[in-house]
Subunit: 331 residues, 2 copies
Amino acid sequence: MAAAREFGVPLTLVGDRERVEAELARHDCTGLDIELWHASEVVGMHDSASDAVRKKKDSSIRVAFELVKGGEAAAVVSAGNSGATMAAGMFVLKRMRGIDRPAIAQLLPTLTGSTLVLDVGGNVDCKPDHLVQFAVMGEVYARFVMGLQSPRVGILSNGEEASKGNELTRETSVLLREKPLNYIGYVEGRDVFNGSVDVVVCDGFVGNVVLKLSEGLAETVGKMLKAEIKSSLLSQIGYLLCRKAFNNFRKTVDYAEYGGAPLLGINGVGMICHGGSNPKAIKNAIRFAYDYALKGVNSRMAEKLDESFPKSVREREANEAPADAKERVVS
Amino acid sequence: MAAAREFGVPLTLVGDRERVEAELARHDCTGLDIELWHASEVVGMHDSASDAVRKKKDSSIRVAFELVKGGEAAAVVSAGNSGATMAAGMFVLKRMRGIDRPAIAQLLPTLTGSTLVLDVGGNVDCKPDHLVQFAVMGEVYARFVMGLQSPRVGILSNGEEASKGNELTRETSVLLREKPLNYIGYVEGRDVFNGSVDVVVCDGFVGNVVLKLSEGLAETVGKMLKAEIKSSLLSQIGYLLCRKAFNNFRKTVDYAEYGGAPLLGINGVGMICHGGSNPKAIKNAIRFAYDYALKGVNSRMAEKLDESFPKSVREREANEAPADAKERVVS
């Protein structure tokens, strides 16, 4: 509702009609462009991704992507089972030409802006080709969503020297040098937060470790500091005086400001939110999804993919056109 | 000097005699058990590990390990090229029976104590057997150095469910269930800092990312908070009042408290320090190395390795005995 009101996004809510109506009745929706679309099934957090795709044809996540496919909506926003969201998006909308594995990209805050890390979506045991595809998609995202002219693309490694890395990163590095990107070579874990790189490429195993470690460390640092401050009255008074600084800081590192992580590489827009998202996070995710669709990022991505992987244009069957044109968001 | 004075550790300083003597002359060493041992060559930070081993036979790092081999010292502490330290340690002292690849183990602070992460030493492209060996060594370290009765051992993965992980972690997990360890399964990035696991096993590529990301994030968080606090006078006054809390916090996450990271899996003791170590870090590393040697951790590790890998006892040639008995530290 906040997204519809603040940003004027037209919304279709997909799910059990009775439950969604009961929830809507508790709010004032006057004048908002909000529709309901009934879906009888639910993909739970412990269901497998294939349930979402094959067994539960009337699940809300599958129906939502069908709406995008049918031109009824431009983007899907989901805080449900992320594996299922990824699978349903791929199954219904198909992969973009040149992409073997769609990726989930996460923005992380730095001192000067933010860094995009991909994949964080569970693409474990990647091949070099997959990482190259992630790099191309991330570069387009950084240009057209983050607004960077020539985003610096790096491979996450265990050292900056070319002699470092593992088999996967070394082969990927050779391939990336031939692509039309501002590829800056290997970057290290510390570079994720220091603003020296814009797009950090890694497999989904490493990406997940990066994401969860960052969340965990930020939380632990906060708790440690709180415990120290509580240990003396003077510190507590001091804390009250600089509380505003703490709150500003918290806002900088708050995942809710970013809202969600885009699913890149499908013919359409999917935004994946944290399972424990608060209203602000969902609101921002809807805004990001809307912007993404309006800006036609997928058309730019398709062009860049064709430029980067010319063989795939000739050799592969053409997939459907990107779903950039439509403007309705499904949530 | 501080280590010799505060902890009574007998020390041998290995390096260019003239330069070490000039440095010593600037301090009061009265009554301290400090010897010099000349080494004419230096392994630089950009030299390859094999230089330390084969080409530079009189390099300080190689000579230091030779002193351990010859029974003149019990442990080596180095803040030099860590790859070279690892290579020299392996070459001179040989691997323990049952170990294919020695590992570097790093302690990281949590809310309630600390977590040991290994390998952080550059063993990229590991096989499941290597990770199992890391687990066994880490468990022994946690029991005899960290003082834990039944340390919880976990594999770092992209989710806790057994269905997660990559090829490496899945095979390792099957193998680890058969070993005499308190193996608790997969852990996630956030668990590294929340105290729910004592020994975190991963390959050296992932371990390096964990280490550098943690350092980088902690540094960035500190800078962000500082910038926010500086932005208003009230906040600055508040900061002055709770500065003690900040300092205590900083001490908790200060790498110098841990001093260095042990090189596990060689027949002797090696402690690897950060290249930018301050005197406190070196002092603590010397104390840790001394304790490690005195406690006979390597003998315990050899027993546990034989118990965990009974085949290796019969099939492999016996290596030399662990160097636990000697008590001199080489630095």
